[in-house]
Amino acid sequence: MGDTLNKVKITTAFEGKPNARALKTYVDNGGYTALKKAFSMQPAQIIDEVKAAGLRGRGGAGFPTGMKWGFVPKDDKGPKYIVCNNDEGEPGTFKDRYIAECNPHMLIEGMIIAGFAIGANKGYIYTRFEFFEEIRWLEIAIKEAYDAGFLGDNILGSGFKFHLDHYTGAGAYICGEETGLLSSLEGKKGQPKLKPPFPAVSGYLHRPTVVNNTETLATVPFIINNGAAAHKAIGTEKSPGTKLFCISGRVKRPGVYELPLGYPFEKLLNEDAGGMLPGYTLKACIPGGSSAPILTPEELKGLTLDYEAITAKGSMLGSGAIMIIDNTMSMVELLKVTVDFYHHESCGQCTPCREGTGWLANIMGGIAAGEGKKDDIERMNEISARMGGRTICALSDAAAMPTMSIVKKFGAEIADYIERGIRA
């Protein structure tokens, strides 16, 4: 059992250091040592180490990273690719931009190690174009790394060749889905590809590709430096390590907090974030970005922030975006904004998602405009139930789950709104 209260800093280790994002700061504080250590290991050893560390994908799904790397065919002579999914689009999430902006070298080091582990000689960092600052610092960092010999044809004399490029997407939410991202990277319309085949076998340009979240990759150097056991010692048994939590809403200190998984929710809200602003009370909380089902204050009591505990409550940890809904917020507006977002972002490929998100938005538009009907709530419930699990990617589920949970838990408020035609 790991420690769920020990605030070890992994991805935010350089917080507060002057010029933290510079290569010099990073190297002076033990940066790129993991890379040297990794070169002394076998690629399979690295994968085993990451597997043993129990690192799970930080992008939302929580898929074990080591296992994902293991899917890449070992006898494939390449080219293979490692892609960093820095297309942080989940509403409420602002953790990857923190890493890319404040600590880009940790990400680059993680990518080189991942590339070495799976035998990829080419990496891409895919960022949405709205993140101007991030893009700027990432590009500077890549240049610094090239100049220092951490990237190139013969890294640190190891004979390992790794090139890293930065790619700017156009800002579509769907390009945060790994195959959607790969389509976009290939220069096509960003829409998810049919699976199987999975990207680990046929991804970017039909070659084996691993797509990892920024935070996941940035955690890799820590694991290599300190060993799997050190990582396993943090957090819970099944969800080891730390996680960046983005807390937003009417709390005293909103922001990014690196906390061990399994950290109590109430402690985060009341101690780290300083509690609710005066005059506001907690009405609900979305624990993992807008795709996660909403949780009521009763469900939040005693909740610990790890994958299993939140799943047990019927929601998900997702990207770790904790959105605090206070008593002044209307659930009708919340639901409308949510379904409008998914309606806007659905790629339109699969019918249930294309039509379902549009239909939900259409109904919510009607309700918000005071034209709601009594059976709209039941209808939304039914539509969302039929959207989930029927599509190529998870966007349809991402739209259906919050809708179902809000309709279920706050149906009375919506029904009241429909009856009055206005907010109570």
Binding site: A172, I174, K189, L194, P196, H343, H344, E345, S346, C347, G348, Q349, C350, T351, P352, R354, E355, G356, T357, G358, W359, N362, I363, G365, G366, K373, R379, E382, R386, G389, R390, T391, I392
Partner: protein, 500 residues
């Protein structure tokens, strides 16, 4: 030996080659799995999410089109789960689909209508305004696009990418605002456009030629072989026998053509309609005046003229390669074997490029039965070889020329000119479908032929594959006969008049 897998489909063991998808296996087993985006001639897109099947032991329903059959898999296509999934998939397809059926040409052969009857039959829950999109767009010379009716199955986009490799179509914008269309300032240019109408499961693409002409439920379709070129595509001819009108030709899955056919081939029904066609026989009466005649009179006219000359010297046959092998056989049996006619000439378009091929289906040899004619010539002991001997007729010195004319007008650009120059010769008996013969003053004798859709017989294509015409429509003109029937009538006349 290729590997096979055995799996259960609705409780029945099915053995298929490894790598076969459940959809393909179900199609082979004649198990209906509703689908929109899957097409046997295109890649798998998996976007309509309609072909949901239940695999025992798996938590979610899966799409049959992208599900490879594996050993021991237990697939069920109609459980309560899948039925609900199909119903809802249809509901999702229909919520923004306009109620255009009264003015939509696809009505009657529309996937949405068909599936509504087979898996739908619900009351729509859509109570909000529908999404409106551009209608009646001009995307190509044969096509009209209605993006509102489109269900974004992407079949057309894949067709453009994979079959014609032009990539002229794309899906633009996202979500339920997505519309299919051409790139700005461009149109679909290739000559396989109307295939888009066929593969479109709804009425988004409609054919400009067939647009508003007839409702499809009035039409009867019969399988035939396209007579437009030597590829010999399998087609279905659609006509309305009550009014003796043909409306369109569509491809049927076949060995020669796969699933497609060219736009040129789709025009092959037009010459069969009455208004374009030789309707009655023309023959001279006792005074030598040429007028419309009954078939029997025309046969008598020709028979008596044939009886008056020495066939070996004075009769020439001018034969085009657009008729069936059976017709050639009876023609040569009678004229060459029985009458001893020696002057047999092939009639082909001057300057044709027989070897030309557009890379997909259309061949430069616009005659459906070049091979069949060669075989028949060989069998009759005549010199073969594909060549145009049209000009040789004029200098042959024959007193009677039997001209078995080409059937399809667009395959013979010089046909009208050639008919002109032929009618200048002595006595020419035109066996033809060409309507222009009635207006030509110098034509002395003509017999209306049946079209390809109206007769039985065989076409042999460029590869030597024989395709049978087995399901004829009734001939749209009363006196229409095929060559075999004309020859038989001639024989009968000769018998009746004591000549054998």
């Amino acid at each position: 030996m290729s590997e096979t897998v055995t799996f259960k489909l609705n409780g029945k063991d099915v053995t298929v080659p490894k790598g076969t998808t459940v959809m393909e296996a179900a199609r082979r087993e004649k198990v209906e799995i509703p689908h929109f985006c899957w097409h046997p001639g295109l890649s798998v897109a998996g976007v309509c999410r309609f072909c949901m099947v239940k695999v025992e032991g798996r938590p979610k329903l899966e799409i049959a089109c992208n599900l490879q059959a594996t050993d021991g898999m237990d697939v069920k296509t109609s459980t309560d789960d899948t039925k609900a999934a199909h119903k809802w998939a249809l509901e999702f397809h229909l919520i923004n689909h306009p109620l255009d059926c009264p003015i939509c040409d696809q009505a009657g052969e529309c996937g949405l209508q068909d599936y509504y009857m087979s898996v739908g039959k619900y009351h729509s829950q859509m109570t909000r305004p529908k999404v409106l999109k551009p209608k009646t767009l001009d995307v190509g010379k044969d096509l009209v696009l209605d993006t509102e009716r489109c269900i974004l199955c992407s079949r057309c986009v894949r067709f453009e990418e994979e079959v014609t490799k032009t990539g002229a179509l794309g899906i633009f914008d996202r979500g339920d605002r997505a519309i299919v269309g051409t790139y700005p300032g461009t149109k679909i240019e290739h000559s396989y456009q109307t295939n888009l109408v066929d593969i479109c499961p709804v009425g988004a693409f409609t054919s400009r030629d067939f647009r508003f002409k007839q409702r499809v439920w009035f039409l009867k379709d019969k399988p035939a072989t396209c007579p437009g070129c030597s590829t010999g595509c399998s087609v279905d001819v659609f006509g309305k026998p009550e009014t003796r009108t043909y409306y369109r030709v569509k491809p049927r899955q076949g060995e020669a053509n796969g699933h497609w056919m060219c736009d040129k081939g789709r025009d092959t029904y037009k010459h069969l309609n009455q208004e374009n066609r030789l309707r009655t026989a023309l023959a001279s009466d006792a005074k030598g005046k040429v007028s419309e005649a009954t078939f029997a009179d025309a046969i008598a006219d020709l028979g008596s003229r044939l009886a008056a000359v020495n066939p070996a010297q004075d009769v020439a046959l001018l034969v085009s390669a657009q008729h069936t092998s059976e017709e050639y056989k009876s023609l040569f049996d009678f004229f060459v074997r029985e009458l001893g006619v020696k002057k047999v000439y092939q009639w082909r378009e001057p300057g044709e490029k027989t070897d030309a091929f557009d890379g997909l289906l259309l061949r430069g040899d616009h005659n459906a039965n070049t091979r069949g004619l060669q075989d028949a010539l060989k069998e009759a002991g005549l010199p073969g070889g594909v060549k145009n001997e049209f000009d040789a007729v004029a200098t042959s010195g024959a007193k009677i020329v039997i001209a078995v004319t080409p059937e399809i007008p667009w395959t013979f650009p010089s046909l009208e000119r050639q008919l002109d120059s032929l009618s200048e010769l002595g006595f020419v008996s035109f066996w033809s479908v060409a309507g222009s013969l009635t207006t030509r003053k110098k034509v002395k004798h003509a017999l209306p032929l049946k079209g390809f859709a109206e007769k039985k017989g065989t076409f042999v294509n460029h590869a030597g594959k024989a395709a049978k015409l087995e399901h004829p429509f009734p001939c749209t003109v009363k006196d229409g006969r095929d060559v075999t029937e004309i020859v038989a009538a001639l024989k009968q006349w000769r018998q009746n008049h004591g000549r054998h």
